[in-house]
Amino acid sequence: MSWPIGPRPPLRRFHQARWDEPIIFELSQPGARGVLPPPVEPGIRERVGDPAAALPAGVRRTSPPALPELSQVHVLRHYDRLSQENLGADLNIDVGQGTCTMKYSPKVNDQLVRSPKVAELHPAQDDSTVQGVLEIIWRLEQLLREISGMDRFTLQPGAGSAAIYANVLMIRAWHAARGEADRRDEVITTIFSHPSNAACARTAGYRVITLQPDRNGDPDLDALKAAVSERTAALLITNPEDTGIFNPRIEEFVRVVHEAGGLASYDQANANGILGITRARDAGFDLCHFNLHKTFSTPHGSGGPAAGASGVTSELARFLPRPTVEFDGTRYYLDHDRPDSIGKIRPWVGVTPNLVRAYAWIMSLGAEGLREVAEVAALNNNYLMHKVLEIRGASAPFAPGRRRIEQVRYSWAGLAEETGIHTEQIGARAADFGVHYWESHHPFIVPEPFTLEPTESYSKADLDEYAAILAEVAREAREEPDVVRTAPHASTIHQVEHDVLDDPARWAVTWRAYRRKVRGEAVEGPRDAVEGPR
């Protein structure tokens, strides 16, 4: 025993929860019940009998679904344990998921949307009964208009990629209205814009041209000039790009595309570093979108529900998804009567709870607060870059000496060359220190990449800790590389053997597939092959 308690080591001695939790089917106890549906009352039974029993053969289910059977407390315990084996943003210095703007999602906003006044509203209710929620959606649109400079917004898209897709459809509709839809079949994007720009455009039938960076790390303006033509439908571009570098020639990019007759759409999924600093409209964009779960703080939900907001100029407003939310000075209402609309992007009006959260977040900050968010995000980022670049083997390719805005795409190329340790191994080892670390979007234009985005939510001490973890892992890579190579050690599980995930004969997306394919057990069900002469 040592008293007083001795000094603490410089890095925390983290160990994640390891419950060694079985798959839920293995916890099944035949006959156990987790929740009981309300019984059918005798008066109903008397009148109609059991209509399910009257279903004809081939329609009525004869063998019950092979779901697990658990008492309520066991369901709860299982999921509580799984939750402990999940490192949510609340628990970690979540700066490792660059491009995703991991910031604090205020608890008060979660509380507001758990109220029945949000949770228990049906989307087909008469407008007169949902004046409160319509008012919030309408007000949120006004706020986003001012933040972006755009004229109208739809808040219907379910997430950022859905908003990109909505913008692509509005671009298509705009060209169609001018009789040019068939001719304008190309969309231009940049390699450091989110992959969904390219993917959504392709899904909508466009040929995709991807611009590479020039020597400065900016998208190549000459390449753009060479790419535009009478076939150009639009430019889909983010700025600052995933490198964190702001494209100083962005107005010229927009102008070149406009002169070719195309539209310019601004991917502002992550606008965190430029709130109140510069706006989509000011650079000449025709469309933009925000991810409300990124810049505007709604929680990420382990991968959604999210919310996307697409903004357009008045020239494009007639194409917005229907319905829009309108206010006539007295009452709020849904306007379904929009003949030029691209129609529905999703059911109803949007991911309402996240719209309420985003509204509350903006109203808790105001103009001065939003600008403070941006400035501190940029300060945090440049501070963290300073700390990371002190680590031998780490670098920030492109634009030496230039500041970054809200994130940086770094490279471990130097470290990898020296030690043979790769970026994904560093990520696995970082988990041992209780933080998340992400490589980067593919393709890896930057070798051995990682992207850090320290939003306004982290303190200087947090950033120092994260940088110290990376420095320690880099030291280990040099001095005890096996520790890194065999990581994680203090995580819920150990290194996963990935081969089976790419082998159709062995992959298992469900427990039944695992039992059937790997264990050779019989499972309930008709067959596993697809008929038809394909």
């Binding site: 309300p38 697990p68 758990r114 049906h122 008469d126 009964t129 593919h442 069900g525 697809v530």
Partner: protein, 465 residues
């Protein structure tokens, strides 16, 4: 705001001026503005955003937002029969408890190590849906059932290399709008009618529409109008005869009593999981599933993430990871299948909790109860003078059509009168399905008691008087 004190916001730790000064010194910058040197002056906003005064204190914010929300009238405070793809079911407390856990709620894109929990929870969701559907492959949720149907049809076109799909005419116009837009410009969508008398898919018309240029058919059972398709096997046989795929939309909460589409031969099942433990939330509770058999030709066309089981270095330890990652737009940008991104994972976890709570017996009892209650409501409403139930002899699940034409009253007018009595009447179908007349779609679930349904009939009788 008090100008004497610096602006230190509780959500922004480094808004404290001394910390800022220290950090600026560390990076060798004279001011924060220097960090924005790359942004040309021509596009700098040199004025404050014109936003309303904020509510900096949490107390003031809550008063403000709750003050606005107070104007809402909820389905709890009223008696609601609204459905149409978003239904009020009982949400077990444990569902809300689990999806409120900060570890799940605030996580995002963690790796299988530090976010093992969400991988396992979503694998279990896929697995329980797999049992419900009797299919081996279920995706991590997409945005909603609209997206699931649209993607399933696009998959059928990629798999068959064909450019035309068929869609049941009972798929409602909003969903059709999404499907048609999503399949444009390269894939054409044609509607298959239903028999006017029975509401069942018109098999003769289907047979006429089918040829070897058709990639797939989307039919739903239960349909938007609540009808259970009783000739699933015949439909699938016709579709397969031309080498097309059978895509069947299904409300998963019906599958305690209804045979899963795989049993009558469906190649892809799809739908929305809002019914499985997720509040209606003014339409904010949707998430879509796409399921198929474990045939790589189909699996490789799924755009979504698929979390699969994998061994780790330690014997007896379950690990997880992404199955066939190279399919996705994350891996291959526009060369991937459609696109993948943040969608609705938390609702997938929630639906898994729901299915684990319900178990096989709960799902059966729930389904039986919904069928009995909706049949009771249907039969009681049919007693009212002038009220007709168009497909009365058919099997229904949860929803049914009520035709008020013979009462001489319009649905909108009746619903207004019911609203005054605290009842949200069924969705007016007169615009979307004009062929049904002054008809409405009524939704009855396990939350309705006999007293609720009797009250509805009594109040509607008075309104109609």
């Amino acid at each position: 705001m008090d100008q004497a004190r610096p602006f230190v916001h509780p959500y922004i730790p480094n808004s404290e001026p001394e910390v800022k000064a220290e950090m600026l010194a560390a990076i060798g910058a004279a001011s924060i503005d220097e960090l924005y040197a790359d942004i040309p002056e021509s596009i700098r906003l040199r004025r404050p955003l014109a936003l309303p005064e904020p509510f900096l204190s949490e107390a003031a914010l809550v008063r403000h937002v709750e003050g606005i929300l107070a104007r809402n009238r909820t389905v709890r405070e009223n008696l609601s029969f609204l459905g149409g793809g978003c239904a009020q079911h009982h949400v077990p407390a444990v569902c809300d408890e689990v999806n409120s856990r900060a570890e799940f709620l605030t996580a995002y894109a963690g790796e299988p190590y530090e976010d093992h929990g969400r991988f396992q929870a979503l694998f279990e969701y896929e697995s329980m849906m797999g049992e419900l559907l009797e299919m081996d492959v279920v995706n991590v949720p997409v945005y909603d059932g609209f997206q699931a149907a649209a993607t399933a049809l696009r998959m059928s076109a990629r798999i068959t290399g064909r450019r035309r799909v068929l869609v049941s005419a009972h798929v409602p116009p909003d969903k059709r709008s999404k499907i048609v837009d999503y399949l444009a410009p390269d894939i054409a969508v044609e509607l298959v009618p239903h028999e006017p008398a029975t509401g069942q898919l018109d098999l003769a018309a289907l047979e006429r529409a089918l040829d070897d240029s058709i990639a797939g058919l989307l039919v739903e059972s239960p349909s938007y109008l609540g009808l259970i398709e009783t000739r699933g096997s015949e439909i699938v046989r016709l579709v397969h005869a031309v080498g097309a795929l059978a895509v069947v939309g299904v409300d998963p909460i019906s599958l305690g009593v209804l045979d899963p589409p795989a049993r009558y031969g469906a190649d892809i099942a799809c739908g929305d999981i809002q019914s499985l433990g997720i509040h209606v939330q003014y339409g904010g509770g949707h998430a879509g599933f796409i399921a198929c058999h474990d045939d790589p030709r189909v699996v490789m066309e799924l755009p979504s993430r698929l979390f699969g089981l994998a061994p780790t270095r330690v014997e007896g330890e379950y690990g997880f990871g992404d199955v066939a990652w190279e399919r996705t737009s994350f891996a291959r940008r526009e060369e991937g299948k459609e696109w993948v991104g943040t969608a609705a994972a938390l609702w997938g976890i929630t639906a898994g909790v729901y299915l684990a709570l319900m178990g096989p017996h709960g799902m059966r009892e729930l389904g039986e109860g919904i069928m009995a209650r909706s049949r009771y409501a249907l039969e009681r409403l049919a007693e009212l003078p002038g009220v007709r139930i168009p497909f009365r002899e058919q099997h229904h699940f949860k929803e049914f059509v009520v035709d008020f034409s013979a009462t001489g009253r319009r649905v909108a007018e009746l619903n207004r009168a019911l609203l005054e009595r605290g009842i949200f009447g069924g969705i007016d179908l007169s615009r979307d399905f004009p062929e049904l007349g002054q008809a409405a779609l009524w939704c009855v679930t396990e939350i309705h008691t006999q007293a609720d349904l009797d009250r509805l009939v009594a109040e509607l009788a008075e309104v109609l008087r």
